[in-house]
């Protein structure tokens, strides 16, 4: 009940850990809450007791301050300072030990994902020893269950922060500086993450999804993502492809297997296989895609994508093509 109330978005909660990293963070959180609650209750109780005793004394007509009161005061202050130092030391030690157990990657050759933050979307590149094994997608990360995944974090323009609360804590993406982190998903599922460092106008609409799935499902997804976009066979999709390559789209987006190779905007090679568009803002449906292509500034004001003037039949053909990019 309490957790349902605290949950901001579906599949996004730091209190429902799905991996060892998040579990440690959650334990730390509950531990801090317990200590803080105890200290709060003790302080409030002592305050009430002091006020009550003073009132009783006043009613009895006794003098408020005497030599023994001075001594009691010194004792009380000493005890509370000692308690504060002890509690802060406990916090420090727990925090450091959690940090130490979490920082090293528990695998020699972990799956490595290069994550680049852009205003306002995530570029996701799966690293591989061979160039044919590398592939790029956007705003959706698939990971195999029960395996540590190493993230190499970079930013293109301003500081962003990568945060999937169910799986791990936050880590900043800083321009010109490479950072890394890792997490492991133990439970299969869909987890929502978002940018946790204010990065401009559409910071709030800069989300991503992590799909944790079985090893077999993950491998199937990787094989499909590594492929290039096929030349469509039906005439509408062919016309859409022509519009994409000769118009404004190809100036910023890339589709593997075509001449469109610009990397200013998200890679669209397998756009139709993703769950959302515009960094988790809209579901990936034909209608949402159409609205986004024609007037993205209405949905995310200030976004880098310009409005596109397309004739209705051209838009229809373009959408058919984009939806064929499985």
């Amino acid at each position: 009940m309490l957790q349902d109330g605290l949950r901001g978005a579906l599949n996004q909660s730091a209190l429902e850990p799905a991996g060892p990293q998040a579990a440690k963070v959650t334990h730390l959180w509950w531990f801090a809450l317990a200590i803080a609650t105890t200290v709060y209750l003790l302080t409030m109780g002592a305050l009430w007791w002091a006020a009550h005793r003073a009132r009783q004394r006043e009613l009895r007509g006794e003098a408020a301050v005497g030599p023994e009161a001075e001594q009691g005061m010194t004792r009380g202050v000493t005890y509370s300072i000692a308690a504060t130092i002890v509690i802060l030391l406990i916090f420090l030690v727990t925090d450091l030990s959690v940090g130490r157990t979490l920082s090293p990657v528990p695998s020699k050759h972990p799956l490595t994902i290069e994550l680049t933050g852009h205003q306002w979307w995530w570029e996701v590149t799966y690293a591989d020893t061979s160039p044919h094994g590398r592939f790029t997608t956007a705003n959706e990360i698939h990971v195999p269950v029960g395996e540590p995944v190493l993230f190499v974090l970079q930013a293109q323009d301003v500081i962003h922060s990568f945060w999937v609360p169910n799986l791990a804590g936050k880590k900043d993406l800083i321009p010109g500086y490479t950072q890394s982190m890792w997490f492991q998903a133990d439970t299969a599922g869909l987890y929502r993450g978002q940018c946790a460092e204010f990065c401009g106008l559409q910071h709030a609409k800069m989300a991503l999804h992590v799909v944790a799935e079985s090893k077999a499902d993950y491998q199937r997804w990787v094989d499909q993502q590594r492929g290039t976009a096929a030349i469509p066979t039906d005439s509408a999709a062919r016309r859409g492809r022509e519009i994409f390559l000769t118009g404004t789209c190809a100036m910023c987006h890339s589709i593997e297997g075509t001449s469109a190779g610009s990397h200013a905007g998200p890679d669209l090679t397998h756009l139709a296989s993703r769950r959302t568009i515009a960094a988790g803002t809209l579901p990936n449906t034909r209608g949402a895609l159409g609205g986004w292509v024609v007037d993205p500034q209405r949905i995310k004001p200030g976004v880098r994508m310009p409005p596109n003037m397309l004739k209705p039949q051209d838009l229809d053909a373009l959408l058919t093509y984009l939806q064929s990019l499985k």
Binding site: T246, G247, T248, M251, C252, S262, A264, D295, Q297, R298, P301, G302, R304, P306, P307, N308, M309
Partner: protein, 190 residues
Amino acid sequence: MRRLSTVRAVSFAVASFLFATSVAGCRREERRFRESPPSATPTTVRVSALQPGTMQDTTHARNPYENNAYAQSEGQRLFGWYNCAGCHANGGGGMGPPLMDDQWIYGSSPENIYTTIIQGRPNGMPSFAGKIPTTQVWQLVTYVRSLSAQNSTGARSSRTDHMMMYPGSSSLQDPEKPKNSFRPPASEMP
């Protein structure tokens, strides 16, 4: 009594000055994300007042973003995105002519630069018609003119990591007077 009225006059003058500057500042900082509808902007750009035959209508597209800081910044970003820097470097010139001097082969007015981008020019400048939306072309025009300090110095694009004359400037030269560059002999002009 006399002193009081002087104080009042001075404070009124200060208040009206602040109001006037803030109103002017609003326009400079105005962010127009959504030009609606984008097709409404006329695309005919006239670079000369002369017209063959009878005088047609005199309306034509002008740069809606001249002296707008946001448009200048967007233009700066697009200058990189559309690879203008590939030939013009960051204004210093390379394969293409430099943009931060006062030598303009095809004219330096916003209308001239607009047609240069849209139509392309001989010996290398490609045509971007149908490739860049009209609003973005005007943003690029605003930025390109700021490289040679032709628009108001009150509006500046964001700091770049490239060549800079002084911190916070996108221009290499004194904003008041463009640097005189070597003028090639007429025979070498394309």
